[in-house]
């Protein structure tokens, strides 16, 4: 069943008289949608947007403004942050909210701009696939990140964060 037209029905409220049936089929809505998905999606955009303001600006501030600012960002800096459960949680929340928010925003844009159902389906398939891959990959990285990388001889790589020295010895 395609999303529009082929199964289109007129409302059964008896309000279609006197000229029903004359409506160009392109405009007929398919059966009313069940549930309130679009309402929750709309609400989610507002709530996640508000949360993202805090998440993103604190993220930018700690990374770029505090300490040595942009010069401090290297492997060790990232490793140091992810050794802290607070930053793990922070980045995880930011990843999930930004991805779901961004993906839902793109879904809305596709709905608004694609004129054919087939175009919609194709674009949304790409979008959902890409979003799923990024969310899973990002989540994995945050939880399985290995800060203290060693070479074949078992020596710490030089860009490892300083706390690795105590951990290895």
């Amino acid at each position: 069943m395609t999303a529009t037209n082929s199964e289109a029905t007129l409302p059964s409220q008896g309000t279609e008289a006197p000229r029903s049936g004359r409506v160009d089929p392109k405009y007929l809505r398919s059966n009313p949608s069940k549930g309130a998905f679009e309402m929750w999606a709309w609400l989610f955009m507002r709530v996640s947007g508000a949360a993202l303001v805090i998440l993103i600006f604190v993220h930018l501030w700690t990374n770029l403004m505090v300490g040595d600012g942009i010069y401090q960002i290297d492997f060790a800096f990232v490793a140091g942050k992810w050794a802290n459960p607070v930053w793990q949680f922070w980045d995880l929340t930011m990843l999930w909210l930004a991805m779901l928010h961004g993906a839902n925003g793109m879904r809305t844009i596709i709905n608004d701009y694609a004129e054919k159902d087939s175009t919609r389906l194709a674009l949304k398939s790409i979008l959902y696939l890409a979003s799923t891959v990024i969310i899973i990959l990002g989540t994995l990285v945050i939880f399985t990140f290995e800060p203290c990388l060693v070479d074949e001889a078992g020596n710490l790589l030089e860009y490892a964060p300083s706390f690795c020295e105590t951990a290895v010895n």
Partner: protein, 262 residues
């Protein structure tokens, strides 16, 4: 017979200047009217026609269309009924904006350039400036634009406090001209969206204290093609010839649906 103490009515209630040219002072100018024509019996595609017209400062776009239809080309087709902003039949795209031809004074437009008139967008064009309004009215019918009250009909009118009446005053002003719905980019895409006008007219009853079917209308508009497709572009509020705060009304319906669900 009148005594000196009785003050004389002025000859006219309109104050005409002592000097000056009176009615002759109305400015006169030449305009170019450019209309997008369509007639499937004459040509497959739409085409543009242009006319040079001498018009007056008191004339509206509708007067220019009349002049063409009555004096130059009788095949030019457009809808109008009241010619005074009441019936809502002559919404059209004038210089890219949805306006009522009968409420748009020529002197308020840039008369140095052609005045471009097209049919409203998003509805099937039938001929020239006439579009098929049925899809528009279908959405209107679906929101049940009539009073539904479960209590027995009283012997006199159903009373309402001034505050309750004021709650939906703005949305009572709609004349169903479709300027809003046909200015909405979401409606242009596939014509599935209920559109601002249907929501405005649902708002009219949802917030009426005498009506009992607000929930049913909120349910209709909670559809995936209902209020959630609104992207707050404000095109509708800008287009409405009645000055209705259309976008605000849509937001109020959204809020009401959420409040009911939480």
């Amino acid at each position: 017979m009148s005594t000196a103490t009785v003050e004389q009515e002025p000859a006219s209630k309109v104050d005409l200047a002592e000097s000056g040219e009176g009615a002759g002072a109305i400015q006169e100018f030449t305009i170019t009217l450019k209309v997008r024509r369509y007639d499937p019996e004459r040509a497959e595609d739409a085409w543009w026609d242009e006319w040079q017209l001498t018009m007056y400062g008191t004339d509206r776009v509708l007067d220019a269309l009349h002049k063409v239809k009555w004096e130059i080309d009788g095949t030019l087709s457009f809808r109008r009924s009241c010619a005074h902003g009441i019936c809502g039949s002559d919404a059209m795209r004038i210089n890219g904006r949805n306006r009522l031809a009968c409420k748009t004074l020529l002197k308020d437009l840039d008369t140095s350039k052609p005045i471009v008139v097209e049919a409203i967008k998003g509805l099937p064009v039938e001929k020239d400036l006439i579009v098929d309004m049925e899809p528009f009215f279908q959405s209107y019918r679906e929101i049940m634009p009539f009073l539904i009250n479960n209590s027995p009909a009283p012997s006199a009118e159903r009373l309402q406090s001034p505050e309750d009446r004021a709650r939906f005053d703005d949305t009572t002003k709609c004349i169903l001209c479709a300027a809003c719905t046909s200015s909405c980019p979401v409606f242009w895409t596939d014509g599935q969206y209920f559109g601002p006008a249907a929501i405005v007219n649902a708002h009219r009853f949802i917030f009426d204290s005498r009506d009992d079917a607000g929930d049913m209308r909120l349910e209709v508009l909670n559809d995936k093609e209902g209020v959630w497709r609104c992207r707050t572009t404000f095109n509708c509020s800008e287009a409405c010839p009645r000055g209705i705060e259309v976008t605000k009304a849509i937001q109020e319906v959204k809020t009401a649906i959420i409040a009911r669900s939480l």
